[in-house]
Symmetry: C2
Subunit: 200 residues, 2 copies
DNA sequence: ACCTGAACACCGTTCAAGT
DNA sequence: ACCTGAACACCGTTCAAGT
């Protein structure tokens, strides 16, 4: 009952198990950063000097592995989202949480992949997601009331649009990325608004 | 020398070859519409009652197969793009070509997949792409001069942003899709503009 | 010319057998 | 408890052998 399934960073592991686990994580992280995207359970096992079954023992599915690799980035995003909620100005809060979501995805493509997945399997990732959505919800409610956001936008819309923007901005220079983010931020403003902003 | 490689709709085929080819296309089209995305060469061959080698003879790679399936949609998009160029008003032309690009991708997810691919393999798809880019280029040049488009946007940006929007809008209701498109259209307008548009 | 399908090197995933 | 790796059912792709 008190057992926690699919925990990304379990504790109380046997010494060799913990060693294997960190080996696997290290190898997988290097593989995704090198190769771009595709990672294979068998290849990971081989590179980590471990049986395939050991990889599956720690990460019963590829989704779990991906979520585990992105857990730290996701936690960081949640921390930043909480700070955005505390922002006094509704418009600033909105821009900040969207900018943060975008930046975090650009820093860690693995996080972008996880945020794009239809559902989560790790318990802590589920928690992070709930927390993030709660922050987004609070901010866009305020933003709507302050008339700095289109009234038809939901937290899920923000998630989807950020995912789409991450796809569009993949492999582009920071300046281009900033332009794309600007396009989204401007487009999210309610209709019939005077937009006059200083160039970056 | 006069031989055309990787043609999507070759002519002058032997009778049985042509029959096989249309069988393969038919099966593949049904598979992508049913299953969503993944299609397997071996599965196609089996479902089409044909050897695997025959599938490879007609479509040397999956990319070629995908491009062949999307060729008609792509041609339609190019026709619409040409009409958008003829639009008198620069702003109307811009909105029209973007809307058309989005709508065509929504109608045929296979076209969206092809438009998202980093490079093309079929000769006619390359032609379509060049033509489409030419249309986009002409329109955004005009749009910039008319001050109805951010000056830093290139044709490739339009392509990327439309791809991203297609990802974001996947599986959503038409009304939501229209909202997302609105967000992009608004966001593409130059800064310091009064935006006052009637609700859809 | 075109077609066939066994064969190859890979996947993800499982599970009896070991320690 | 945990690990191993052969084994299974799949991939994409090739190519000798058939008609």
């Amino acid at each position: 009952m008190a057992e926690q399934l699919l925990l990304a960073n379990p504790t109380n592991l046997r010494a060799d198990s913990a060693r294997n686990r960190s080996q696997i994580v290290e190898v997988a992280r290097r593989m995704v950063s090198e190769d771009g995207s595709l990672l294979s359970m068998n290849a990971i096992a081989h590179a980590a000097g471990v049986g395939v079954g050991t990889v599956y023992r720690h990460f019963p599915t590829i989704q779990v592995l991906l979520e585990s690799l992105a857990a730290d980035s996701f936690a960081k995003l949640v921390v930043e989202a909480r700070q955005a909620v505390l922002e006094a100005d509704a418009s600033v809060a909105l821009e900040r949480i969207i900018r943060t979501g975008f930046d975090c995805q650009m820093e860690d493509p693995g996080l972008a992949a996880v945020l794009a997945s239809p559902s989560f399997e790790c318990a802590d990732i589920l928690d992070y997601s709930a927390e993030l959505f709660s922050c987004i919800g609070a901010i866009i409610t305020r933003a709507r009331q302050a008339n700095v956001l289109r009234p038809d936008i939901t937290p899920d819309d923000i998630r989807r649009l950020l995912n789409g923007l991450a796809v569009a901005a993949k492999d582009l220079a920071p300046r281009k990325r900033a332009q794309y983010l600007d396009v989204l931020l401007l487009g999210l403003r309610p209709e019939s608004t005077i937009t006059s902003r200083s160039a970056a």
